[in-house]
Symmetry: C2
Subunit: 321 residues, 2 copies
C-alpha cells in the first residue's frame, strides 16, 4: 500500500481488506489457490476500497460490514482487470505476468468468474439488498461499457454523450458504488449517502477523463503504454473528440482511424491532439468534474475522512500515473 | 420449448421466463442488444428453470418471485455456457454459431460477464438474502469446477472423490440451487426445502454422470461430439475411472492419456472403456443417484409437480441427448 496521505484515516482497515484477500486463497483446490495467490500477491492501489471505507467513516457502525464491502469492491475491480487483460491479450499487470499469459485464457476467464462471484458473496454478507443489487448492476455496467467501447472502435463519428456514457459504465459506475455503499452501510442519512454517491460519480468521471488525457499528455513511464495507444487501438476519447471539434472535424484524425496501420498518419493525428489548446480544454473538462466532486463533500461533517476525500480529488487531478 | 410431459405443470410459467429473456435485449446499447438477441433466440431445454418452478409449486406464493428466480437460474446457465464455449473455442452451440466465433472472444467474455451479473440482479429481486448468497456461491462453484477439470486434465492418477467433487461443482451445484431456491422462495417448510435441495443435488449428479457415460456409449448425433471426446481432451470421467479400477490400473488408458496424439492408442483405450461391464457399472452408479433423488421426493405432497419431478429423474436416466 502506498503512503499517500489520503489513506491515513482508513489505513488500519485497508490492512484488514488486504488480509481478507490473501486469506481467500487458503483452503481451496490447489490450482485455484495458485491463481488466487498470484493475483493477490501484488496489491493494487486500493483507491476504490479506500473510498468505501472513507465514505463509511462519518457515522459509527459495525466496521466489519464495511470492510466486507470494501473487499468486495476491490475484488470486483480485480476480476474485471483479469478479464480485460485476457481479452486484450495483455502480458503484464502491475509489473507481473498476467494469469492469461502464465496459465492461458481459459484459466484467466474462469479465475475472473470465480473472483466476480466471490466479490458478490462478500457483498451478500452485508445483508443489505439495496447494496447487493446495486453491486450486481455495477458488474452489468462494467461489461456493457467495455462492449460499447469495443463496438465504437475505429469509428470517428462518436458523440460526446456516447463517450460519457461509456466512461461512466467502464469506470465511474464502480467509483459511485464504492462511495454510496460505504455511506449506506454506515447508516448515513439519505442526503449524506446521496452526496457521497454523487461524489463517487464525479470523481470516477474525472479519473477516467484524466486517464484518457494522459494517453496523449503523459510519458510512457507514467502510463505504462506507448503515447497515443488509445487512438492507435481505435478508441476515441475526450482529447480526440475535442481536437475533432476544435479543428472542425479534423481530417487527419478521421483518416488515422480509417488507416490505423499507417504509423506516419497516426503520429500526425497524435500530434494534432497533443496541441496545447486541445489538452487545456480536456483538463478543464476533467476539472469541472473535480469541482463538482468537491462541492458534493461540502455538506458532510468536517473530519479527517472528509479531508481525505478532498485530497483524493486533487490526487486524481494531478495524477501522472 | 420441448413438449416433454414433465414440463406440463409449469408450461405457462416457463413462457414467462422465456419472455423475460427476450425482453432483456430491449433498450440496450445496439451491440449488446445484438449479442443478447443472438443468445436468447435459440432457447435451451429449460430443465433448470423448470426444476425451480416445479419445486416452488408445492406451496401457494407470489409466482412472480419464483419466475424471477427461474429466469436467473437459466441466465446463469447461459452465461456459463458462453464462457465455456469461448475458452474451449467451440464454434457451435445449439446448432448456431457461438458469440465467440461470430464476434470474437472479447465480446463473448464480456457478454458472459454481463449475463452473469444480469442473473444476479434478477435473483436480488427475490429479496431473499439466503437465496442470493447461495446463488453467488453457485457461480464460484461452477468456475472452480471448471478450473479443477482443467488442472486434472491428462492426469490418470485421479481419485473418485476428486471426480465427484468436480461434477458437483460443475453441474450439480446449479441443479441444487435451482431446486432449493424454488422451495425456499415459495415459503416451503425447512424439511421440504431440504428434501428438494437434496433432490436437486442427486438429480444433478446423475445428470452429469449420464453425460459422461454417453461420451462413450452414445452416438455422435446424440451427443453432438465425437465418441470418446472427453478422453481425447484428457478429461477423466466415471467410465474411465471404473475401467481403470476393473482392469487393475489399465495400462492402455494411462498410455492414451500420456500420448493423446496417438489416435490408435486412444481408440484402444476408448474400446476398453466401452466394455459392457464398465458401462453397466457406470449406469448403476448413475442409477443410485436416481434412486436417491426419487426417495427425496417421497415426503412431498402428491401432486402433478411431484409427478413431474419424478419423470425428470427417468428422463435423465434414459437421456440420449
Amino acid at each position: 500500500m502506498q503512503s499517500v496521505s489520503f489513506y491515513e484515516p482508513v489505513m488500519d482497515r485497508l490492512v484488514n481488506v488486504n488480509s481478507s484477500l490473501t486469506e481467500m486463497a487458503e483452503r481451496k483446490h490447489p490450482f485455484l489457490a495458485q491463481l488466487l495467490d498470484h493475483t493477490f500477491s501484488t496489491p493494487g492501489k486500493y483507491i476504490r476500497p479506500a473510498i468505501t471505507l472513507l465514505a463509511s467513516n462519518f457515522y459509527a457502525h459495525d466496521e466489519r460490514i464495511t470492510e466486507k464491502m470494501a473487499t468486495g469492491v476491490e475484488l470486483l475491480h480485480i476480476a474485471s482487470l483479469i478479464h480485460d487483460d485476457t481479452v486484450d491479450g495483455a502480458a503484464l499487470r502491475r509489473g507481473k505476468l498476467t494469469i492469461s499469459s502464465l496459465w492461458g485464457p481459459k484459466a484467466a476467464v474462469l479465475a475472473g468468474d470465480y473472483i466476480f462471484a466471490a466479490s458478490a458473496t462478500l457483498v451478500c454478507d452485508t445483508g443489505n439488498i439495496r447494496v447487493i443489487r446495486r453491486f450486481a448492476e455495477t458488474i452489468m455496467e462494467l461489461s456493457s461499457g467495455e462492449l460499447q467501447e469495443m463496438a465504437e472502435t475505429y469509428n470517428p463519428e462518436q458523440s460526446m454523450e456516447s463517450y460519457l456514457e461509456r466512461i461512466y459504465n467502464k469506470t465511474a459506475s464502480l467509483f459511485t458504488t464504492a462511495a454510496e455503499s460505504g455511506a449506506i452501510l454506515s447508516g448515513a442519512p439519505d442526503a449524506c449517502s446521496e452526496a457521497l454517491r454523487s461524489y463517487g460519480h464525479n470523481l470516477g468521471m474525472a479519473f477516467q477523463v484524466v486517464d484518457d488525457i494522459l494517453d496523449f499528455d503523459g510519458t510512457e513511464e507514467e502510463t505504462g503504454k506507448p503515447i497515443g495507444s488509445d487512438l492507435a487501438n481505435g478508441v476515441v476519447t475526450l482529447p480526440t473528440l475535442i481536437a475533432m471539434k476544435q479543428k472542425n472535424c479534423c481530417d487527419a484524425v478521421t483518416r488515422a482511424l480509417k488507416h490505423p496501420e499507417d504509423s506516419e498518419l497516426m503520429q500526425e493525428a497524435v500530434s494534432i491532439i497533443q496541441d496545447d489548446t486541445v489538452l487545456e480544454e480536456s483538463y478543464e473538462f476533467a476539472g469541472r468534474y473535480c469541482v463538482k466532486a468537491l462541492s458534493d463533500l461540502k455538506g458532510l461533517p468536517p473530519s479527517p475522512s472528509r479531508d481525505s476525500l478532498e485530497e483524493l480529488v486533487s490526487h486524481v487531478k494531478v495524477r501522472r500515473s
